[in-house]
Amino acid sequence: MLLSYLKIAWKVLLRRKFFTFISLFGISFTLMVLLVVVALFDHTVGAHAPESRLDRMTFVQLLHIKYKNGGNQNSPLSYYLLDTYVRPLRTPEKVTIYSNFHSTPSYVGNSRLDLDLKYTDEVFWQILDFTFREGKPYTPAEVKSAARVAVINQSTARKYFGTDTGVVGRTIEINQTNYRVLGVVDNVPAMRLSSYADVWVPITTSPDDLRRVQLTGDFSAIIMAKTAGDVPAMQAEFDQMARRVPLDDPKGMERLDLHADQLLASYSRQLMNPLTDYASDGLTILYAILSGIALLFMLLPALNLVNINVSRIMDRSSEIGVRKAFGATGGTLIGQFLVENIFLTAIGGLLGLLLAYVALQLIDGAQILAYAHFELNWRIFGWALLATLFFGVLSGVYPAFKMSRLQPVQALKGGSK
């Protein structure tokens, strides 16, 4: 029986090529866009090396200062603030402090090479699991002594030395300062703001005065819990600490907002601040908005499918009448149309997967984002396909149910009642 249904489904798809094209286009295009968006999302906030232990990490990236005159300031933090208040926390396993990356000039022969430089402590290499192609990171002693040593990425090694092997021990000149290369790591995508750079050097070589007592500066921190289950306790300790940080200017400042959020939450706190005023990370609202957009986005092809299915099934009322006359029950007919819809949506899903793969390859190839590498997320593909199937089934059930309830004689006459 299933084979007979599939035969009919295939014939019906071929018979009405234009409608089939529109249906398949709707399904596959929607899935493609969803998959590409999810791949970008995953690329930015998913657990990937070197940030593969995201479930244990929280990020302290921005300090929000609310002024009494109504003004607001969002800024990275000072080394002093992070070193004095964050590093001594007891719950975390490790805390790393690092600067934002800055484009810094270097020269290869006569041509300029702009390299993104980041200052980090030695713990940075313990929390983040960079893949070293050769060499090793700098040691605590090298950080303490402000040694002129550097870890560079593969791309920099190729551009500066013309090779990515055998460069350990060689010297790279950046902004008129010579650094000895200690190690070469895999490129990190630019979207991973915390770990990304072309060159990493000890934080003690930073031109900033690290001991200066101030709230804002150029630094961020990653705090890693012993286990994922420890994160809430770690955040609670952090929040307690944050309340003790004194205001620089109590007369002008109203309050400070300082939080240790997990990666996505750290972005959503900034994005959702018009709604939450930094009081919460806004993750629930962000998820609700994203789900709403995804649902609306899928609703369009679903409505299109409903419309097409109604006309497609009404066209086949004579067939439904014949099947009923020869013993098909309403349930059997609904089953038949469900098989047909699942068949159609499955084809659309596979096309969507193919289109998404091609689109991601194109985005990868265009190198719009430095070192970006997008991958299809199979889990999300499964969910998206399930959602499309659900809509496909729903859109098929309604007209099939309507037709299955007709008297056979009405169906034979074309479904008019």
Partner: protein, 247 residues
């Protein structure tokens, strides 16, 4: 045409030439009324029809267009419900049957032949003929094929099994429709103007086929027709006018 030998012969006066004992009633209609109601108009399609069709009979229903012939056939075939009155099949009233039970009855007991064939164009001749058996869980795929081939053999179309309806002439399509009606081995065939869309030669061919099925295979047939000549070939002619039985 490859007609098979009779398997049962419940009614064959031509063959015996003597009166036979009354056959059991296959269909009994009592005070059947069918009224189509719109907001402004009430149309009486059938008016207190009482009719008994015995097992093995070949009955034709005649009357002008719109007199309720096809409506009556649809009610006999459980494709439509009467507004009032009782339909009995093999001694059992069907009014209390659920949709599922009615579907089962149509599948097991009745075969339909329509004026416009109502073949499924996307399916091959063989797949079309298999249709009634598709809804019988007890019939395997292999048996379904065998029985469909046998039915096509009976109507002389065994060489056309892989053709599609659009590749056949009108007469051939109607023969496929008859094969489909036969495939389920029904006790009753309901034919709604089976020769209405055919020329006289093909019409005669189809009529001969139906007569053969009735006389040699014992299939009860109720046929709606406009053709007096064909109606006279059947055992009993029932005439309708304005929704009422006149003879």
């Amino acid at each position: 045409m490859n007609f098979t030998t009779a398997q049962s012969n419940l009614f064959d006066p031509a063959a015996t030439g003597v009166a036979v004992a009354p056959a059991p009633a296959m269909i009994k209609l009592t005070d059947i009324e069918k009224v189509y109601q719109t907001k402004t108009i009430e149309t009486v399609a059938l008016n207190r029809v009482n009719l008994t069709i015995n097992k093995g009979e070949f009955v034709s229903i005649m009357g002008p267009s719109g007199c309720g012939k096809s409506t009556l056939l649809s009610i006999i075939g459980l494709l439509d419900e009467p507004s009032s009155g009782q339909v009995e099949i093999a001694g059992r009233p069907v009014t209390s049957y659920s949709d599922k039970e009615l579907a089962g009855l149509r599948n097991q007991k009745i075969g339909f032949v329509f004026q416009s064939y109502h073949l499924i164009n996307d399916l091959s001749v063989l797949d079309n003929v298999e249709l009634p058996l598709l809804y019988r869980r007890s019939v395997s795929g292999q048996e379904r094929r065998q029985r469909a081939h046998a039915a096509l053999d009976k109507v002389g179309l065994s060489a056309r099994t892989s053709h599609f309806p659009s590749q056949l002439s009108g007469g051939q399509r109607q023969r496929v429709a008859i094969a489909r009606a036969l495939a389920g081995n029904p006790e009753l065939i309901l034919a709604d103007e089976p020769t209405g869309n055919l020329d006289s030669v093909m019409g005669e061919e189809i009529m001969d086929l139906l007569l053969h099925l009735n006389r040699h295979e014992g299939v009860t047939i109720v046929m709606v027709t406009h053709d007096e000549h064909q109606a006279q070939k059947t055992e009993r002619v029932i005439r309708f006018f304005d929704g009422s039985q006149v003879s």
